[in-house]
């Protein structure tokens, strides 16, 4: 039996996906990237293998993400841009725009009807429009990350947070608190801020798909995205694993050649 693995070492988390020859996901895992990318790759891959019931020798491995060159057992590396496009087209085989909101960066990738990438954008160097922004604000408000979604859902109102800068946004939030805004409203406000930052990165004509860790953990954010854009938005079954899936698909393609 032959398997194909994709390992996506992101700045915050490391993801591994194992697929079979049909492209079905038979194992996956997500761990923190930490400071040792190689270790993270080993652990995550090991867990995914266990689930899939395979070993390294059964797999062709491709790596992606910021740590893509730190996976000694990968046959080759591809950027996360290509892998996200590949993974997303596998999930939605038609022309669309993928919005991936990750821990440290956000990407907008335009894909045509043949699955080819037409264009891509990444957020500028700062945290605006990424998971890091949510993390920082949650930290300031002493809220756990897994509470954000539930809180935002409860909001009666939307509090406006307009600063680009995470630090300024945090000060803005202090003013909102002084004015008496509730925590759920503030969380909804920061979700809105992330959505706005992402939407202003590119024009969004056509079908939209969203993925990434932020999306995986905050389904309410997707709902807000739909309200904001007036479009039905596709969410893959494993939103956080789009890049790793794409890498695994590249590994499968490499075998075909």
């Amino acid at each position: 039996m032959e398997f194909f693995a994709g390992i996506d070492i992101g700045a915050s988390t490391t993801k591994a996906v194992i697929i079979n020859t049909k492209g079905e996901v038979i194992g996956y895992s997500v761990t923190d990237s930490g400071a040792d990318f190689e270790l993270a790759a080993n652990q995550t891959f090991g867990q995914a293998c266990e689930q899939a019931g395979c070993a390294l020798d059964d797999c062709i491995v491709a790596s992606t993400g910021y740590g893509r060159n730190n996976v000694p057992f990968a046959s080759f590396a591809k950027t996360e841009i290509s892998c996200h496009a590949e993974g997303s087209f596998h999930n939605f085989p038609r022309a669309h725009i993928l919005i991936d909101i990750g821990g440290q960066d956000s990407k907008i990738i335009k894909i045509d009807n043949d699955g080819k990438r037409i264009n891509f954008r990444m957020n500028r160097k700062c945290a605006a429009g990424t998971g890091a922004f949510l993390e920082e604000i949650a930290n300031r408000l002493k809220i756990r990350l897994d509470e954000l979604n539930g809180l935002a859902e409860k909001a009666q109102d939307n509090v406006q947070i307009s600063s680009y800068c995470t630090v300024f946004a945090a000060t803005e939030i202090l003013s909102r608190i002084r004015e008496g805004s509730g925590v759920p409203e503030i969380i909804k406000g920061i979700f809105t801020s992330v959505i706005k930052r992402v939407l202003e990165m590119d024009s969004m004509e056509g079908d939209l798909a969203v993925s990434g860790g932020v999306v995986a953990h905050n389904p309410f954010l997707v709902k807000m995205f739909e309200e904001k854009t007036g479009k039905k938005i596709f969410v893959p079954p494993l939103p956080q694993l789009t890049g790793a899936l794409g890498a695994a698909l590249y590994a499968r393609k490499a075998k075909e050649v």
Binding site: E80, I81, S82, M122, R124, K125
Partner: protein, 414 residues
């Protein structure tokens, strides 16, 4: 594909000669500062250098010095010093690093050239605002610091057609400079000298253009990253025989590369345009990154900016006005797009890289929708990298590398 693979870097043989003439140039300037009878003028890089040279000034170009601060990765030590005296981190980082270095009493010149203690203190500071306002503010700072006269030419910017009225205005401004410059230099203006200097400058820039045009061939012999270094003499020694001799030598070497089929990049697969300023502190890294990706970055607005086609010794004032006004940086979007289109076609390029240089808006042409328009117009992709000419704190290396690699993967899949 991995950008981290070992790369072979092809050294240009003429580099030794370039180093020598640049060293001679700086020693000559240093000598002039110590010699009462010799006058020194500072001139912005696309300022009226030929006029100054013809009046006997030794000419120093502060932008060249600032680029050295960037290339030696010293700029970020100095930028905060200028910030602290009120010069914003958002304005030209050439300006802030140069003034910061002066305030710290440091210069790469004294590290590179034994015996040179500082930058050459001038007798006059001359600007042309054709490129930006920052150059005027930059020289104005030194003017106040040293109590030295500041003068220059104010050029309209963002223009399409260049009208006779615009040129007449600039000619007048140039002529108005003459009596003031005569007084400072102690030399009488001599139109024949002006013509001679212009003829030499013209020859230099024509040779430089020929060097750049060797890159129309595939594989292209010279990368953008090499060209930014070898452009030095065209900036600081134009108007001299030395520069002409140098570009004859360099052209010969590039022609040999053509004849031997030697490219700057081994196994050249893609050819790209670089729009915007270089990231001076990252030239070597960028160069290696692209070699590793079998991609030749071989045409640029930046290196083409020292081609002054309009120089005409028969009418030196008018042609100075024209040459320094018709350059890319002065023109409107439509002109710029047509310009890039022609280069992309002539050099058979596969894509365009835009460098959004945080502190140099006039060289960041991605900011008014040009990449999107050019992608449609030329049917090739583009990529915008965020960075800066000198302030490396504005540059995220990992992100830029990933974007560049992803861009090449996109070209491969096309």
């Amino acid at each position: 594909m991995s950008a981290d693979k070992k790369v072979t870097f092809k050294k240009i043989k003429a580099t030794g000669q370039m180093r020598k003439i640049m060293a001679d140039y700086f020693y000559d300037l240093d000598g002039a500062v110590k010699d009462e009878t010799q006058k020194v003028a500072w001139c912005t890089s696309v300022g009226p250098a030929e006029l100054l040279l013809s009046l006997g000034f030794k000419v120093y170009y502060p932008e060249n010095h600032a680029a050295m601060l960037g290339a030696t990765r010293q700029a970020t030590n100095y930028i905060p010093v200028a910030n602290a005296i009120g010069y914003s981190p958002d304005i030209c980082s050439y300006l802030t690093s140069d003034i910061g270095a002066y305030l710290k009493k440091e210069t790469p010149l004294s590290r590179a050239y034994e015996g040179i203690e500082g930058i050459p203190k001038p007798d006059v500071l001359v600007f042309n605002t054709n490129q930006c306002r920052d150059v005027q503010d930059w020289l104005a700072w030194y003017s106040r610091e040293w109590n030295i006269p500041l003068m220059g030419v104010s050029t309209f910017r963002n223009i399409g057609e260049i009208s006779d009225e615009v040129l007449a205005g600039i000619v007048q401004q140039l002529k108005d400079l003459v009596p003031k410059l005569e007084k400072i230099s102690g030399n009488k203006f001599d139109i024949d000298k002006f013509r001679e200097t212009m003829a030499a400058s013209k020859e230099c820039t024509e040779l430089w253009e020929k060097v750049l045009e060797t890159n129309m061939a595939s594989p292209a012999p010279m990368s953008f990253f090499d060209a930014t270094i070898h452009m030095g003499p065209a900036v600081v020694l134009r108007g001299s025989q030395t520069a002409i001799d140098y570009y004859e030598l360099l052209l010969k070497e590039m022609e040999e590369r053509l004849a031997d089929g030697v490219g700057a990049v081994e196994d050249e697969k893609f050819r790209l345009y670089w729009e915007g300023m270089p990231i001076w502190g990252k030239l070597r890294d960028m160069s290696e990154l692209f070699i590793g990706l079998n991609t030749a970055v071989i045409a640029s607005t930046y290196c083409n900016s020292w081609i002054f086609k309009a120089f005409d010794p028969a009418d030196p004032f008018l042609s100075t006005a024209r040459a320094y006004t018709e350059i890319f940086i002065v023109r409107d979007e439509e002109y710029k797009e047509k310009y890039i289109e022609d280069v992309v076609r002539n050099f058979k390029l596969d894509g365009i890289l835009f460098h959004d240089s945080k502190t140099c808006p006039t060289n960041s042409n991605n900011r008014y929708g040009m990449p999107e328009r050019l992608e449609k117009r030329l049917n090739i992709p583009s990529l915008t990298i965020n960075g800066d000419l000198n302030d490396l704190r504005c540059y995220s290396e990992e992100q830029a590398k990933t974007q560049i690699e992803a861009f090449i993967e996109q070209l491969e899949a096309m």
